[in-house]
Symmetry: C2
Subunit: 293 residues, 2 copies
């Protein structure tokens, strides 16, 4: 199976599960459930849950074991986008090629739909089957720590506070680690844990995810400068417009591209202990580096 077919197949598993877990649009209050589904089923890349399922496979487990964790991760990711797009934060009108949640449903419902997606993430995660090595508590520690005030949310705070200020490379690293790398690393670690991987493998995949996540964010910053709004499906050039310090702004495009490649390479080295079992993860890393949207 080639990489694209395999990604599509895993993505469909995730979509089917999310569709099963999310309340229908007919459930009261209708507006809220429509808003939750609007943001979840908006043609996202499903990068994080695909990494979760791929990690489970690399550790010798069936992807189905990691489906609750994969869907939980996607719900957390989507809630964070809905809230980040709010007028009081990044104030963005476009996401995944469509109007953002608050543009369609109003700000109040967008805040609450984000809250509901965050809440349901933990409801779904609780469906995870414990393994001999990893208890349910460990799964919760993993996700709440990556999504919490020192990682995902903390990164967004630092990002907002860095606007219109000159940031150091260290500041930028704190933001990228929090906003992007922590959740990508957790996606991989959760997949490994669901497959009952030994701690050594969980850690190796966490290391892979940490570097991959940093590379991913640099590529994101590069695309914001080099691509059109149309091809990205979200407002291009918005980092400069918002007075944000980005990797290309500090180091220039050429050096940024080199750093993304270096980090991807370093990520791939962390996969060494897996040998051939990690072929798909290698392919995913390459695809993430070379993406154009």
């Amino acid at each position: 199976m080639n990489v694209k077919t395999r990604i599509d197949s895993l993505r469909k598993k995730v979509d089917r599960s999310l569709d099963r877990w999310l309340p229908s649009e007919k459930t009261r209050p209708v507006s809220l459930h429509r808003a939750m589904r609007y943001s979840i089923f908006s043609g996202g890349k499903r990068l994080r849950p695909v990494l979760t399922l791929a990690a489970a496979e690399a550790c010798g487990g069936k992807p189905a074991l990691a489906l609750p964790a994969a869907c939980a991760v996607e719900c957390v990711h989507t809630y964070s986008l809905v809230h980040d797009d709010l007028p009081c934060m990044d104030d963005d009108d476009l996401r995944r090629g469509r109007p953002t949640s608050h543009k369609v449903f109003g700000e109040g419902i967008a805040v609450l739909a984000g809250d509901a997606l965050l809440t349901i993430a933990f409801e779904i995660l609780a469906e995870t089957k414990e393994t001999p090595r990893h208890k349910l508590q460990d799964f919760f520690v993993e996700l709440t720590s990556a999504a919490g005030s020192s990682s995902l949310i903390g990164g967004q705070v630092a990002d907002i506070e860095a606007e219109n200020k000159s940031s150091t490379p260290q500041d930028l690293l704190f933001i990228h680690r929090g906003k992007t790398a922590a959740m990508i690393a957790a996606s991989l670690r959760l997949g490994a844990m669901a497959a009952n991987a030994p701690l050594k493998e969980v850690r190796a995949l966490g290391k892979f995810g940490e570097s991959l996540g940093l590379a991913f964010q640099i590529v994101d910053d590069i695309l914001d400068v080099t691509q059109s709004t149309e091809s990205l499906g979200k407002s291009a050039g918005k980092d400069i417009a918002a007075g944000k310090t980005t990797y290309p702004a500090i180091f220039g495009l050429e050096k940024s591209r080199k750093e993304a490649a270096r980090l991807t390479n370093s990520a791939r080295k962390a996969l060494a202990p897996f040998g051939d079992r990690a072929a798909f993860l290698h392919a995913l890393a390459d695809q993430m580096l070379n993406r154009t949207c």
Copy 2:
């Protein structure tokens, strides 16, 4: 020990635990952690976590067993207040006698502090010790369901959508069940579960909480009309100002008071199987009915 002393003693246990679980104000990002602590330590009544600990005691368990659930419940409650107060929702400037979170920290940080309180609720809940009868998964099902899109969040959506419309008593019941009764019932059920109570006792306390929660919300609506902003610590008269349908607005004050008393009485009947073990819960119910703020 009299009721007030006992409430104070349980409240202090909750406060000490929350202080231990919440990141310090020195942890980066400082603004976020300050905002989280500002809302958590603002002199709230701690009604829900006190009910959790009292339920554990009524079921023969030590309150300490229920501390993670109690603190998780309080974090969920506080996040919901922070988000409800936002300009895009109830647009309130005053809460617990102090300026609301977005007034002090700005809207962006207030949204994110709410998100972080919701996230840490599940991190804290994961500290719960499983019991022979109740697995960790059961605790998560309980809290995510009470906090989720069909209960706490759904109730808030229905509340917003009911503004400036004439609501039926059935609409009002949906709002009160979701916004208030579900979390109060879950607070009690979680306490019982942490004490390894048999399902029959968990259910009885859930029933107690459901009626108590409805009574509590009617009393809240009555106080909004009859008390001053100063004595409430939050803006009085705001329901009418926001064009909200309330219990007193539909039925008048006298009938509302009777209904609150009837519901409290019905709640207390659910405690019958506990006999003397429920003396403190009876006292709490009376106090909630007769409160003036």
